[in-house]
Symmetry: C2
Subunit: 377 residues, 2 copies
Amino acid sequence: MTSFEIDKREFIKGLSLMQSVAGRKTTLPILSHILLEWEKNFLFLTGTDLETGICEELIATVHEKGKASVSAKKLYEIVRELPEETMSIQKKENQWITLQCGKSVFNLAGLDPEEFPSLPAYQEEHFSTVSTQLIREMIEKTVFAASNEESRYHLNGVLFVQTKQGGKEILRMVATDGHRLSLVDQENLNIRGIEEKGMIVPKKGVLEIRKIIGDRDGEEGMGIYFNSTHGFFKMGKSLTVIRLIDGEFPEYEQVIPKGNDKRLVMSKEKMVSSLKRVSTMASERMEGVKISLKKNSMEMSSTHQDFGDAKEEVEVGYEGPPLQVGFNARYLIEALHVMETEEVVMELKDEGSPGILRPSSTTGPSSQFCIIMPMRL
Amino acid sequence: MTSFEIDKREFIKGLSLMQSVAGRKTTLPILSHILLEWEKNFLFLTGTDLETGICEELIATVHEKGKASVSAKKLYEIVRELPEETMSIQKKENQWITLQCGKSVFNLAGLDPEEFPSLPAYQEEHFSTVSTQLIREMIEKTVFAASNEESRYHLNGVLFVQTKQGGKEILRMVATDGHRLSLVDQENLNIRGIEEKGMIVPKKGVLEIRKIIGDRDGEEGMGIYFNSTHGFFKMGKSLTVIRLIDGEFPEYEQVIPKGNDKRLVMSKEKMVSSLKRVSTMASERMEGVKISLKKNSMEMSSTHQDFGDAKEEVEVGYEGPPLQVGFNARYLIEALHVMETEEVVMELKDEGSPGILRPSSTTGPSSQFCIIMPMRL
């Protein structure tokens, strides 16, 4: 009988990563399963929702190689409750498996593992190794601006683009929901397979990568490459394959405002906490806050039709003429949250034009900015 | 103009306690409000859902006494975001209030405070002082067994009963949902106003008391008394008034099994973790686990129609004849969780009779047990 043994801690690590993809789609019963394949000294776990697929390599003691497919959720629930010991798993004739640990015995219903959808094959030699920390930072600086509206599927992701500036290779990530846009550039990063128009990686997949990176530091590199339909991300013993969004990303370079000549400098922390206060009186749907600028002063104000109104004045560095403009407070707060400098710069033109937020200084070889559309208030 | 000043930390403490009652019912707009009354050196906050009412006394600097009624949620959201400073609140002519703190100004819509439903009046001299720690323990040992089914409203609470045993005054709490029952007795506790048939305090109110007690230790006493319609609970500067459930609590003494002559002793921790494992394969709706006893051994087993089956053997102290009986695993786990001893005793009769769980020894002047109805599996 084909079987293997595995340590609980090793097993649970792999199983927990599978939970976010396995069972997310319930159209096909087998998608709520994970594939277990044991061979040599390894157990390979695979889970997929047909958009994001994850494969994990775990250390196991294999007696004879084999395969099985069982419920991802049930197996996780069981293993989570087991003591920290070694357990043994045996394949039975009816596709079921028997899991034994101490005096506990579980028989888990299985499906034919040959029916499990296979992940697209990858080619080891195509991976470019990049810093996990840089990728995490770039994801965090953009993904919040991607759209959640399913009807705008071409905006439901982060665009990866490869550009050149002054002879330097630059990896760019851009995300937009039509109301705001966030862009980050990183010098000296080159990923294989990115087409000229860029590749749209879906938000769910990007967040999955973010989760797998977790709190790992930059020391450990991560392998990435793209083919025309998928992105491949390899980290340690974990491979994530993400189906790209097949759509046209907007011509984002055309919406970057050019003539924003009113420039103000402000403390990020002060701005965030003032916005949080004033936006308590903004309408829940519009979340609009009016910004009124005069020399070295910004007044923020909001009015709620049921609850009342709020206003607050903040000192800023501003030498331009008086100006009023309305913005969605949450968009401002979310953009400020991804700036790493203590001071941020806001560039405005007039009440009908988008504003630009950027860090007061660029940190090393990376640069970023957010564009936010104005609101009539 | 009538106004007061208050420290943020003092204010937020009171406002956060109001959030669970104010706005829970949306039938009357004023129930989403809290009443603010300032006088002498105090601000009194009152919130109610007409079942549970809370009144808090806070320290404030009052310039002229006054009253206002504003949205509990909005005021909390605003004060939470303010810096830790003193703020001033002024009543305006249109029932609104103006809140100022540093450079922030908020105008909050108000309603006529005279329309705010007043809490039942209490009589200071009626309070019996009891240990908060004992009340918390008694609540925790019973409230989980109360029913959540709205149609069985007479079971939606904890019965407070005053009894006598061997000349000693005993406070008893009992809760049941018809499938299980939990009872705890505490010697030398006497609360004024408890009628002979007992008083049913609704689960929501009991949980509110539990929350207000928080992690306070037993040093600080709490005042309690009942009149025929309400329970009054006073702790520090906080008064909670709970409308009692007007219904007949079942004759719980009649359902306490008498002839349970099969007695087994087991480790609480081991039992809980085995039950958690085996119940992963119990059906989601029934949560049934079969218990099979033989000399010094208990086997637990479960079967799920889609996922498979589980079994596990645990060593127990048992000298009786073989016996099989089914129970809801969650009811067993929840009952075990409120036992404080390392070992617990289970008393059974046969497969069709309820089981009793109790601590292996009684801790001091308190005693408790849980009754769980059997299931056919």
